[in-house]
Protein backbone atom coordinates (compact mmCIF):
# COMPACT_ATOMS: atom_id res chain seq x y z
CA UNK A 1 0.00 0.00 0.00
CA UNK A 2 1.15 3.49 -0.76
CA UNK A 3 -0.30 6.89 -0.10
CA UNK A 4 -1.64 8.72 -3.15
CA UNK A 5 -2.75 12.35 -3.18
CA UNK A 6 -4.58 14.27 -5.85
CA UNK A 7 -7.12 17.04 -6.21
CA UNK A 8 -10.63 15.75 -6.79
CA UNK A 9 -13.35 18.22 -7.65
CA UNK A 10 -11.25 21.07 -6.34
CA UNK A 11 -10.49 19.48 -2.96
CA UNK A 12 -7.38 17.69 -1.77
CA UNK A 13 -7.96 13.95 -1.60
CA UNK A 14 -5.66 11.19 -0.49
CA UNK A 15 -5.76 7.57 0.50
CA UNK A 16 -3.84 4.32 0.67
CA UNK A 17 -3.89 2.34 -2.55
CA UNK A 18 -2.38 -0.83 -3.90
CA UNK A 19 -0.40 -0.62 -7.11
CA UNK A 20 -3.28 -2.28 -8.93
CA UNK A 21 -5.95 0.08 -7.59
CA UNK A 22 -7.76 1.69 -10.50
CA UNK A 23 -8.69 5.36 -10.49
CA UNK A 24 -12.33 4.27 -10.73
CA UNK A 25 -11.95 2.18 -7.56
CA UNK A 26 -10.18 4.99 -5.73
CA UNK A 27 -12.97 7.42 -6.59
CA UNK A 28 -15.81 5.04 -5.79
CA UNK A 29 -14.51 2.94 -2.90
CA UNK A 30 -12.02 5.22 -1.14
CA UNK A 31 -13.58 8.63 -1.75
CA UNK A 32 -17.15 7.25 -1.99
CA UNK A 33 -17.81 9.28 -5.11
CA UNK A 34 -20.07 6.68 -6.68
CA UNK A 35 -21.31 8.91 -9.49
CA UNK A 36 -18.49 7.55 -11.64
CA UNK A 37 -19.99 4.30 -12.88
CA UNK A 38 -18.18 1.13 -13.86
CA UNK A 39 -20.05 -0.64 -16.63
CA UNK A 40 -17.82 -2.95 -18.58
CA UNK A 41 -14.53 -2.51 -16.70
CA UNK A 42 -12.77 -3.11 -20.04
CA UNK A 43 -12.56 0.51 -21.33
CA UNK A 44 -15.28 -0.08 -23.89
CA UNK A 45 -18.41 1.53 -22.42
CA UNK A 46 -17.33 4.93 -21.14
CA UNK A 47 -19.57 5.01 -18.06
CA UNK A 48 -16.43 5.73 -15.99
CA UNK A 49 -15.22 8.78 -17.95
CA UNK A 50 -13.77 11.48 -15.70
CA UNK A 51 -11.48 14.41 -16.45
CA UNK A 52 -7.81 14.14 -15.46
CA UNK A 53 -6.02 17.46 -15.86
CA UNK A 54 -8.90 18.55 -18.06
CA UNK A 55 -8.87 15.57 -20.39
CA UNK A 56 -11.49 12.85 -20.65
CA UNK A 57 -10.12 9.47 -19.59
CA UNK A 58 -11.63 6.13 -18.71
CA UNK A 59 -11.11 5.84 -14.97
CA UNK A 60 -11.31 2.03 -15.13
CA UNK A 61 -8.21 1.97 -17.33
CA UNK A 62 -5.92 4.24 -15.38
CA UNK A 63 -4.10 3.38 -12.17
CA UNK A 64 -4.85 5.56 -9.16
CA UNK A 65 -1.10 5.83 -8.55
CA UNK A 66 -0.72 7.48 -11.96
CA UNK A 67 -3.18 10.20 -10.97
CA UNK A 68 -0.94 11.36 -8.13
CA UNK A 69 -0.82 15.14 -8.17
CA UNK A 70 -3.46 15.40 -10.87
CA UNK A 71 -6.63 17.48 -10.98
CA UNK A 72 -9.52 15.06 -11.29
CA UNK A 73 -13.08 16.12 -12.02
CA UNK A 74 -16.03 13.76 -11.68
CA UNK A 75 -19.76 14.02 -12.32
CA UNK A 76 -20.23 15.14 -8.71
CA UNK A 77 -18.65 18.49 -9.61
CA UNK A 78 -20.67 19.13 -12.76
CA UNK A 79 -23.70 20.80 -11.17
CA UNK A 80 -23.65 24.54 -10.62
CA UNK A 81 -22.42 25.92 -7.30
CA UNK A 82 -26.01 26.43 -6.08
CA UNK A 83 -26.83 22.79 -6.75
CA UNK A 84 -28.86 23.41 -9.88
CA UNK A 85 -28.08 21.34 -12.96
CA UNK A 86 -25.36 22.54 -15.32
CA UNK A 87 -26.27 23.49 -18.87
CA UNK A 88 -25.30 20.06 -20.17
CA UNK A 89 -27.13 18.20 -17.40
CA UNK A 90 -30.25 20.32 -17.86
CA UNK A 91 -30.17 19.66 -21.60
CA UNK A 92 -30.03 15.90 -20.95
CA UNK A 93 -33.17 16.27 -18.83
CA UNK A 94 -34.96 18.58 -21.25
CA UNK A 95 -34.28 16.39 -24.28
CA UNK A 96 -34.71 13.01 -22.60
CA UNK A 97 -31.06 12.14 -23.08
CA UNK A 98 -31.28 9.36 -20.53
CA UNK A 99 -33.52 6.51 -19.56
CA UNK A 100 -31.93 4.18 -17.01
CA UNK A 101 -29.18 6.73 -16.42
CA UNK A 102 -26.30 4.31 -15.98
CA UNK A 103 -24.23 5.71 -18.85
CA UNK A 104 -25.17 9.31 -18.11
CA UNK A 105 -22.23 10.32 -15.89
CA UNK A 106 -19.82 9.25 -18.61
CA UNK A 107 -21.94 10.85 -21.31
CA UNK A 108 -22.01 14.17 -19.46
CA UNK A 109 -18.26 14.09 -18.81
CA UNK A 110 -17.53 13.27 -22.46
CA UNK A 111 -19.94 15.97 -23.61
CA UNK A 112 -18.21 18.52 -21.38
CA UNK A 113 -14.80 17.52 -22.76
CA UNK A 114 -16.07 17.84 -26.32
CA UNK A 115 -17.68 21.26 -25.80
CA UNK A 116 -14.55 22.59 -24.12
CA UNK A 117 -12.53 21.96 -27.30
CA UNK A 118 -15.33 22.37 -29.82
CA UNK A 119 -18.06 24.71 -28.50
CA UNK A 120 -20.42 24.24 -31.46
CA UNK A 121 -19.95 20.70 -32.77
CA UNK A 122 -21.91 19.30 -35.68
CA UNK A 123 -24.18 16.31 -35.19
CA UNK A 124 -21.55 14.12 -36.88
CA UNK A 125 -18.79 15.43 -34.62
CA UNK A 126 -20.88 14.66 -31.54
CA UNK A 127 -21.63 11.14 -32.73
CA UNK A 128 -17.95 10.52 -33.50
CA UNK A 129 -16.87 11.91 -30.14
CA UNK A 130 -19.25 9.55 -28.35
CA UNK A 131 -17.71 6.48 -30.00
CA UNK A 132 -16.39 5.33 -26.65
CA UNK A 133 -19.60 5.93 -24.68
CA UNK A 134 -22.19 3.20 -24.94
CA UNK A 135 -25.89 3.63 -24.10
CA UNK A 136 -28.23 0.65 -24.26
CA UNK A 137 -31.46 2.60 -23.71
CA UNK A 138 -31.78 5.75 -25.74
CA UNK A 139 -30.49 4.86 -29.18
CA UNK A 140 -28.28 7.97 -28.80
CA UNK A 141 -30.52 10.38 -30.75
CA UNK A 142 -31.65 12.29 -27.69
CA UNK A 143 -28.16 12.32 -26.22
CA UNK A 144 -26.86 13.92 -29.40
CA UNK A 145 -29.78 16.33 -29.36
CA UNK A 146 -29.08 17.26 -25.74
CA UNK A 147 -25.44 18.00 -26.44
CA UNK A 148 -26.34 20.12 -29.45
CA UNK A 149 -28.85 22.02 -27.35
CA UNK A 150 -26.29 22.48 -24.58
CA UNK A 151 -23.99 24.06 -27.15
CA UNK A 152 -26.70 26.60 -27.91
CA UNK A 153 -27.57 25.23 -31.33
CA UNK A 154 -31.01 24.75 -32.83
CA UNK A 155 -32.05 21.13 -32.45
CA UNK A 156 -35.36 21.24 -34.28
CA UNK A 157 -33.81 19.59 -37.34
CA UNK A 158 -32.23 16.66 -35.47
CA UNK A 159 -33.66 13.45 -36.83
CA UNK A 160 -35.14 11.42 -34.05
CA UNK A 161 -37.86 12.13 -31.51
Amino acid sequence: MAQVSMTVNGKAASGDVEGRTLLSSFLRDTLELTGTHVGCDTSQCGACVVHVNGEAVKACTMLAAEAAGAEVTTIEAMANADGSLSTIQQAFQDHHGLQCGFCTPGMVMSAAALLKDNPTPTETEIREYLEGNICRCTGYHNIVKAIMAASGQDVSSIAAE
Partner: protein, 263 residues
Amino acid sequence: MYDFDVEMPTSVAEAVAALSQEDAQALGGGQTLIPTLKQRLASPSVLVSLNGIAEMKGVCIGEDGQLCVGGATSHAVVAKDAAAHFAGLAELASHIGDPAVRNRGTIGGSLANNDPSACYPAAALGSGATIVTNARSIAADDFFQGMFTTALDEGEIITEVRFPIPQAANYQKFLQPASRFALVGVFVAKFADGVRVAVTGASNDGVFRWTEAETALGSDFSAGAVDGLTVSGDDMISDLHGTGAYRAHLVGVMTKRAVAAAG
Protein backbone atom coordinates in the same frame (compact mmCIF):
# COMPACT_ATOMS: atom_id res chain seq x y z
CA MET B 1 -5.42 -8.13 -11.41
CA TYR B 2 -2.55 -9.62 -9.46
CA ASP B 3 -0.99 -6.90 -7.36
CA PHE B 4 2.17 -5.10 -8.37
CA ASP B 5 4.16 -2.05 -7.36
CA VAL B 6 4.01 1.11 -9.45
CA GLU B 7 7.01 3.33 -10.02
CA MET B 8 6.83 6.76 -11.60
CA PRO B 9 10.31 7.73 -12.85
CA THR B 10 10.81 11.25 -14.17
CA SER B 11 13.72 10.55 -16.51
CA VAL B 12 14.63 7.88 -19.06
CA ALA B 13 17.66 6.93 -16.99
CA GLU B 14 15.50 6.34 -13.91
CA ALA B 15 13.04 4.31 -15.95
CA VAL B 16 15.79 2.12 -17.38
CA ALA B 17 17.13 1.50 -13.88
CA ALA B 18 13.65 0.65 -12.59
CA LEU B 19 13.07 -1.76 -15.46
CA SER B 20 16.17 -3.73 -14.55
CA GLN B 21 14.28 -5.16 -11.56
CA GLU B 22 13.05 -8.72 -11.87
CA ASP B 23 9.65 -9.03 -13.61
CA ALA B 24 9.43 -5.29 -14.18
CA GLN B 25 7.25 -4.13 -17.07
CA ALA B 26 7.01 -0.73 -18.75
CA LEU B 27 3.59 0.94 -18.68
CA GLY B 28 2.72 3.35 -21.48
CA GLY B 29 -0.83 4.68 -21.59
CA GLY B 30 -2.09 1.34 -20.33
CA GLN B 31 -4.98 1.11 -22.76
CA THR B 32 -3.93 -2.40 -23.73
CA LEU B 33 -1.79 -3.39 -20.77
CA ILE B 34 -4.33 -2.63 -18.03
CA PRO B 35 -7.09 -4.72 -19.70
CA THR B 36 -4.46 -7.47 -20.16
CA LEU B 37 -3.58 -7.33 -16.46
CA LYS B 38 -7.26 -7.47 -15.54
CA GLN B 39 -7.51 -10.75 -17.42
CA ARG B 40 -4.46 -11.99 -15.50
CA LEU B 41 -2.64 -12.59 -18.76
CA ALA B 42 0.43 -10.89 -17.31
CA SER B 43 1.80 -10.73 -13.78
CA PRO B 44 4.61 -8.17 -13.51
CA SER B 45 5.98 -7.47 -10.05
CA VAL B 46 6.64 -3.82 -10.87
CA LEU B 47 5.00 -1.54 -13.42
CA VAL B 48 7.24 1.31 -14.47
CA SER B 49 5.04 4.13 -15.73
CA LEU B 50 6.58 6.16 -18.55
CA ASN B 51 3.97 8.91 -18.26
CA GLY B 52 5.89 11.16 -15.90
CA ILE B 53 8.92 11.50 -18.17
CA ALA B 54 8.75 14.98 -19.72
CA GLU B 55 11.62 14.32 -22.14
CA MET B 56 9.55 11.55 -23.79
CA LYS B 57 6.53 13.73 -24.57
CA GLY B 58 5.67 15.99 -27.45
CA VAL B 59 6.03 16.50 -31.18
CA CYS B 60 8.78 18.48 -32.89
CA ILE B 61 10.61 18.90 -36.18
CA GLY B 62 14.20 17.72 -35.97
CA GLU B 63 17.22 19.35 -37.62
CA ASP B 64 17.04 16.75 -40.37
CA GLY B 65 13.47 17.79 -41.17
CA GLN B 66 11.97 14.63 -39.72
CA LEU B 67 8.96 14.65 -37.42
CA CYS B 68 9.99 13.54 -33.93
CA VAL B 69 7.36 12.13 -31.63
CA GLY B 70 8.27 11.34 -28.03
CA GLY B 71 7.57 7.75 -27.05
CA ALA B 72 5.13 8.74 -24.29
CA THR B 73 3.15 11.13 -26.50
CA SER B 74 -0.57 10.43 -26.50
CA HIS B 75 -2.54 9.81 -29.69
CA ALA B 76 -4.55 12.98 -28.98
CA VAL B 77 -1.41 15.11 -28.93
CA VAL B 78 -0.11 13.58 -32.18
CA ALA B 79 -3.52 14.16 -33.77
CA LYS B 80 -3.33 17.84 -32.84
CA ASP B 81 0.35 18.75 -32.99
CA ALA B 82 1.45 16.70 -36.01
CA ALA B 83 -1.40 17.91 -38.23
CA ALA B 84 0.47 20.86 -39.72
CA HIS B 85 3.55 18.75 -40.55
CA PHE B 86 2.35 15.26 -41.41
CA ALA B 87 -1.40 15.22 -41.92
CA GLY B 88 -1.55 11.52 -42.79
CA LEU B 89 -0.03 10.58 -39.43
CA ALA B 90 -2.20 13.02 -37.47
CA GLU B 91 -5.31 11.70 -39.19
CA LEU B 92 -4.37 8.12 -38.30
CA ALA B 93 -3.81 9.09 -34.66
CA SER B 94 -7.18 10.86 -34.54
CA HIS B 95 -9.04 7.63 -35.31
CA ILE B 96 -7.37 5.24 -32.87
CA GLY B 97 -9.83 3.89 -30.31
CA ASP B 98 -12.06 6.66 -28.97
CA PRO B 99 -11.36 10.14 -27.55
CA ALA B 100 -10.77 8.99 -23.96
CA VAL B 101 -8.47 6.19 -25.14
CA ARG B 102 -6.56 8.68 -27.32
CA ASN B 103 -5.93 10.88 -24.28
CA ARG B 104 -4.07 8.03 -22.56
CA GLY B 105 -2.70 5.67 -25.22
CA THR B 106 0.83 6.40 -26.45
CA ILE B 107 2.76 5.85 -29.65
CA GLY B 108 5.57 4.04 -27.84
CA GLY B 109 3.14 1.71 -26.14
CA SER B 110 1.42 0.88 -29.39
CA LEU B 111 4.65 0.17 -31.27
CA ALA B 112 6.19 -1.85 -28.44
CA ASN B 113 3.05 -4.00 -28.19
CA ASN B 114 2.87 -4.51 -31.98
CA ASP B 115 -0.71 -5.70 -31.97
CA PRO B 116 -1.31 -7.20 -35.43
CA SER B 117 -4.37 -4.95 -35.85
CA ALA B 118 -3.01 -1.71 -34.39
CA CYS B 119 -2.78 1.45 -36.50
CA TYR B 120 0.59 2.94 -35.54
CA PRO B 121 2.72 0.02 -36.79
CA ALA B 122 1.36 0.74 -40.28
CA ALA B 123 2.36 4.40 -40.01
CA ALA B 124 5.85 3.59 -38.75
CA LEU B 125 6.53 0.91 -41.36
CA GLY B 126 4.75 2.81 -44.14
CA SER B 127 6.80 5.94 -43.49
CA GLY B 128 10.10 4.17 -43.00
CA ALA B 129 10.30 5.63 -39.51
CA THR B 130 13.16 5.14 -37.09
CA ILE B 131 12.35 3.82 -33.63
CA VAL B 132 14.73 5.40 -31.14
CA THR B 133 15.24 3.67 -27.81
CA ASN B 134 17.33 4.38 -24.74
CA ALA B 135 20.04 2.19 -26.31
CA ARG B 136 19.91 2.55 -30.12
CA SER B 137 18.01 3.47 -33.26
CA ILE B 138 16.07 0.75 -35.09
CA ALA B 139 14.70 1.07 -38.63
CA ALA B 140 11.00 0.22 -38.83
CA ASP B 141 11.86 -2.44 -41.43
CA ASP B 142 13.86 -4.25 -38.72
CA PHE B 143 11.63 -3.41 -35.75
CA PHE B 144 8.46 -5.41 -36.40
CA GLN B 145 9.17 -9.13 -36.10
CA GLY B 146 5.77 -10.78 -36.06
CA MET B 147 2.57 -10.65 -34.03
CA PHE B 148 3.27 -8.96 -30.66
CA THR B 149 7.00 -9.33 -31.34
CA THR B 150 9.54 -6.55 -31.89
CA ALA B 151 13.29 -6.02 -31.93
CA LEU B 152 13.13 -4.47 -28.45
CA ASP B 153 15.25 -6.12 -25.80
CA GLU B 154 14.05 -6.73 -22.26
CA GLY B 155 13.77 -3.41 -20.45
CA GLU B 156 14.41 -1.33 -23.60
CA ILE B 157 12.22 1.77 -23.92
CA ILE B 158 11.03 3.56 -27.05
CA THR B 159 11.99 7.14 -26.30
CA GLU B 160 11.19 8.68 -29.68
CA VAL B 161 9.90 7.86 -33.14
CA ARG B 162 11.33 9.78 -36.10
CA PHE B 163 9.20 10.00 -39.20
CA PRO B 164 10.51 11.13 -42.58
CA ILE B 165 7.77 13.42 -43.90
CA PRO B 166 6.33 12.13 -47.19
CA GLN B 167 5.13 14.24 -50.10
CA ALA B 168 1.72 12.65 -49.71
CA ALA B 169 0.33 10.04 -47.34
CA ASN B 170 -2.93 8.56 -46.19
CA TYR B 171 -4.19 5.79 -43.94
CA GLN B 172 -7.42 3.98 -44.56
CA LYS B 173 -8.86 1.79 -41.83
CA PHE B 174 -11.67 -0.67 -42.33
CA LEU B 175 -12.99 -0.52 -38.82
CA GLN B 176 -13.75 -3.54 -36.68
CA PRO B 177 -16.54 -1.62 -34.98
CA ALA B 178 -16.53 -3.39 -31.61
CA SER B 179 -12.82 -3.06 -30.89
CA ARG B 180 -12.05 0.09 -32.97
CA PHE B 181 -8.97 -1.72 -34.22
CA ALA B 182 -8.37 -2.17 -37.94
CA LEU B 183 -9.98 -5.19 -39.55
CA VAL B 184 -7.59 -4.11 -42.28
CA GLY B 185 -5.68 -0.84 -42.41
CA VAL B 186 -3.37 0.40 -45.15
CA PHE B 187 -0.88 3.27 -44.86
CA VAL B 188 0.43 4.64 -48.16
CA ALA B 189 3.27 7.18 -48.30
CA LYS B 190 4.78 8.78 -51.40
CA PHE B 191 8.37 9.97 -51.17
CA ALA B 192 10.65 11.50 -53.79
CA ASP B 193 12.43 8.16 -54.13
CA GLY B 194 9.47 5.80 -54.06
CA VAL B 195 6.24 4.69 -52.46
CA ARG B 196 5.75 2.62 -49.32
CA VAL B 197 2.62 0.62 -48.55
CA ALA B 198 2.16 -0.94 -45.10
CA VAL B 199 -0.72 -3.21 -44.16
CA THR B 200 -2.02 -3.87 -40.64
CA GLY B 201 -4.85 -6.08 -39.38
CA ALA B 202 -4.45 -8.66 -42.11
CA SER B 203 -1.45 -10.90 -41.60
CA ASN B 204 -0.81 -13.48 -38.92
CA ASP B 205 2.73 -12.09 -38.91
CA GLY B 206 1.56 -8.57 -38.06
CA VAL B 207 2.21 -5.44 -40.09
CA PHE B 208 3.88 -5.96 -43.50
CA ARG B 209 4.87 -4.05 -46.63
CA TRP B 210 3.01 -4.81 -49.85
CA THR B 211 5.99 -4.55 -52.17
CA GLU B 212 4.15 -5.32 -55.42
CA ALA B 213 1.87 -2.35 -54.81
CA GLU B 214 4.86 -0.18 -53.88
CA THR B 215 6.50 -0.95 -57.23
CA ALA B 216 3.33 -0.31 -59.20
CA LEU B 217 2.58 2.94 -57.35
CA GLY B 218 6.19 4.05 -57.71
CA SER B 219 5.74 4.44 -61.44
CA ASP B 220 2.08 5.48 -61.39
CA PHE B 221 0.72 6.93 -58.15
CA SER B 222 -2.96 6.36 -58.88
CA ALA B 223 -5.58 3.97 -57.53
CA GLY B 224 -5.73 2.32 -60.96
CA ALA B 225 -2.11 1.23 -60.66
CA VAL B 226 -3.18 -1.31 -58.05
CA ASP B 227 -5.80 -2.87 -60.36
CA GLY B 228 -5.10 -6.53 -60.92
CA LEU B 229 -2.70 -6.83 -58.00
CA THR B 230 -3.72 -9.27 -55.31
CA VAL B 231 -2.28 -10.60 -52.08
CA SER B 232 -2.78 -14.15 -50.91
CA GLY B 233 -5.20 -14.73 -48.05
CA ASP B 234 -3.58 -18.03 -47.10
CA ASP B 235 -1.55 -16.64 -44.20
CA MET B 236 -3.99 -13.96 -43.18
CA ILE B 237 -5.99 -13.72 -40.00
CA SER B 238 -9.25 -15.63 -40.22
CA ASP B 239 -11.76 -15.04 -37.44
CA LEU B 240 -15.44 -14.39 -36.89
CA HIS B 241 -14.99 -10.85 -38.21
CA GLY B 242 -13.62 -11.92 -41.59
CA THR B 243 -11.86 -14.71 -43.43
CA GLY B 244 -8.33 -14.49 -44.74
CA ALA B 245 -9.68 -14.17 -48.27
CA TYR B 246 -11.93 -11.29 -47.18
CA ARG B 247 -9.02 -9.50 -45.54
CA ALA B 248 -6.85 -10.09 -48.63
CA HIS B 249 -9.53 -8.45 -50.75
CA LEU B 250 -9.74 -5.53 -48.32
CA VAL B 251 -5.99 -4.95 -48.65
CA GLY B 252 -6.49 -4.02 -52.30
CA VAL B 253 -9.58 -1.93 -51.63
CA MET B 254 -8.06 0.03 -48.76
CA THR B 255 -4.82 0.59 -50.70
CA LYS B 256 -6.77 2.14 -53.55
CA ARG B 257 -8.76 4.31 -51.18
CA ALA B 258 -5.57 5.48 -49.45
CA VAL B 259 -3.90 6.36 -52.75
CA ALA B 260 -7.00 8.24 -53.92
CA ALA B 261 -7.24 10.13 -50.63
CA ALA B 262 -3.52 10.94 -50.56
CA GLY B 263 -3.87 12.56 -53.98
